[in-house]
């Protein structure tokens, strides 16, 4: 990996201090020629000198070193109201860097992948796109999209699912999408401490990022992924039937029950069904259902499903072996298969797992023991 010093940033820091390159050279204990070579990209400072540059100029790594051409792409599925800070982004970028050594142990990449070349939130165009995706997945226009088909679709597109237990409230994100652009591999972290009714939507949302890599990490990418997920899980054919049925209901409660029945059938949230039916009525120029969004939220909040982790595992938190088994067989992901090989071959300790999975050291130690037999602290 050829690294180059960020000369523009350093020159700007020097100018702000009123320093010359020669003064910088004296401050970091190098000759003027050496510093000049760094700034011209001919040489790169040794680690001790890079640290000296950082403390002398008070510049962080990103300001001192030019970023690589193929930076990873990060997209968070945030919890409601959570704010993404620079710290969150740095942490996710560090996770991306830590994932790179794992790539060599993953199965060979596929030559063919699904891409949506013109992602849009326009109702008719979006419905056309999800109809094609549904046909590709082998399901009818109004059929329930089963988890198995979704999971296989990630696999078919070199997106490796990484189930994690980030807690129901403690973490700022419920899913994290990391695309290693240079390796053309995607890792999709899914928090299993998530309500069942939301989980399929988030998976569909993440699938949208996989189909539209150029939009991942951007605001429009998030908007598209939300629109795509709702439309894929509850497309026009479903919305059409539910709208007609709901209109026959005698009152708002009965109408809500029609929506709830559809939500249960598709194992998605009441809110998703409501939004899709309303979007359908609007696109078709029909009268919207006379149910307010806040009524839907009130019903939804009064009858939340359990957590995915509770449904999958006997105990919470689950035994490390259970998590590995679920990753391998339920999520059909080679993540831990590759991880086991990497840990064996490199002799890497539990702290690596702690960081790459953003988990506690004790949990990482248990996972490390389950993967390689024993653990180094």
């Amino acid at each position: 990996m050829h690294k180059v010093i960020h000369s523009a940033s350093i020159k700007s820091a020097l100018a702000a201090r009123g320093w010359t390159q020669d003064q910088l050279a004296v401050a970091v204990g190098e000759s003027a020629q050496v510093v000049s070579n760094w700034l011209q990209g001919k040489n790169f400072p040794r680690p001790a000198k890079l640290l000296k540059l950082a403390t002398t100029l008070q510049l962080g790594f990103d300001q001192l070193v030019m970023p690589e051409a193929d930076q990873p792409v990060i997209a968070f599925r945030k919890k409601g109201g959570a704010k993404t800070t620079d710290e969150h982004i740095h942490k996710a970028m560090a996770m991306a860097a830590l994932l790179k050594p794992l790539v060599a142990y993953l199965p060979e990449r596929r030559a063919l992948r699904t891409l949506l070349p013109t992602p849009t939130t326009d109702y008719a165009l979006l419905q056309s796109a999800v109809a094609q995706v549904r046909r590709k997945l082998g399901i009818g226009p109004a059929s329930v999209l089963r988890y198995e088909r979704l999971i296989d679709e990630f696999r078919d597109n070199d997106a490796f699912l990484v189930p994690v237990l980030w807690g129901e409230k403690q973490n700022h994100k419920n899913a994290l999408h990391i695309l290693l652009t240079s390796d053309k591999v995607t890792f999709v972290y899914l928090n299993l401490d998530t309500h069942l009714e939301d989980f399929k939507f988030w998976m569909a949302h993440e699938l949208a990022h996989v189909y539209t890599p150029e939009l991942a990490g951007k605001d429009e990418g998030e908007d598209f992924a939300d629109a795509f997920a709702g439309a894929l899980l509850f497309p026009q054919a479903c919305a059409d039937g539910t709208y007609a049925k709901a209109l026959q209901a005698r009152n708002a409660a009965a109408m809500t029950q029609v929506l709830l029945d559809a939500a249960h059938e598709h194992t998605i949230s009441l809110n998703t069904v409501y939004l899709q039916v309303q979007a359908y009525s609007q696109a078709k120029g029909l009268k919207p259902l006379p149910v307010k969004g806040r009524q839907i939220h009130a019903v939804r909040n009064s009858m939340r499903d359990g957590l995915v982790s509770r449904a999958l595992f006997a105990a919470s938190p689950p035994d490390a072996n259970e998590l590995i088994e679920a990753t391998n067989h339920v999520f059909r992901s080679d993540f831990f298969v590759a991880m086991r090989q990497l840990l064996h071959e490199h002799g890497t300790g539990a702290g690596y797992l702690q960081q790459v999975l953003d988990m506690g050291l004790q949990d990482a130690t248990a996972l490390h023991v389950a993967l390689v037999g024993d653990s180094a602290r």
Partner: protein, 206 residues
Amino acid sequence: MTTLVLLDTNAYLRLAKRVRPLLGKKFGQKDYVLAVLKDVQNEVLRQPRLQYLYPWFDADELLAQERLRNTIKLSKNEKATLDAAASVLHGIVLMDLQRFMKHRRSPPSYTDCRVLAFGQIRPAVVVTDDLAMHELADLTGSGDVWHGHELLKKMLSAKLIDNDLVRAIYAALEANTLDGSSDLPASWPRVKHIAFLKVFGQSTAP
């Protein structure tokens, strides 16, 4: 002038319950003062399982007060230098990951790097049994790093702890296993009958 002796998460968790008072007290000829950075405390507090395994961390009022009393206050300038140094140390790790991923080691985390970076702003020694941290300190020339047993030895020499406590700490760490893995760092058994000859005597192992 005092020299801060900064404990990483594991070093603190291994000692805090058993050595009291631990933080803020001067010892040794160089006036060492033990400290634990806020970053380390945050690491424990944000991990539910660490809190579950070490409930006293939060629940023990005396320890919490001791940490609060000994919080290190940084000037704006020191904070800027610390942030820059930690960022670069972590960047160096991520640039050269393979170096830190062998021999049962793990790449130092950002919190580890902040602890190590502290030596760039104040006279400080870092106490860690994480060998990758030792390697990073060597690679970057970023200051003194001790193993936990080296700290124990210095505390013993300064009469901050006695032979019984050294024996008790070794025994507790040997007995403390999690998921089949001992809490005793790999380097500690090697020095048990050398650095602590007067405590444990000669080794009887062949």
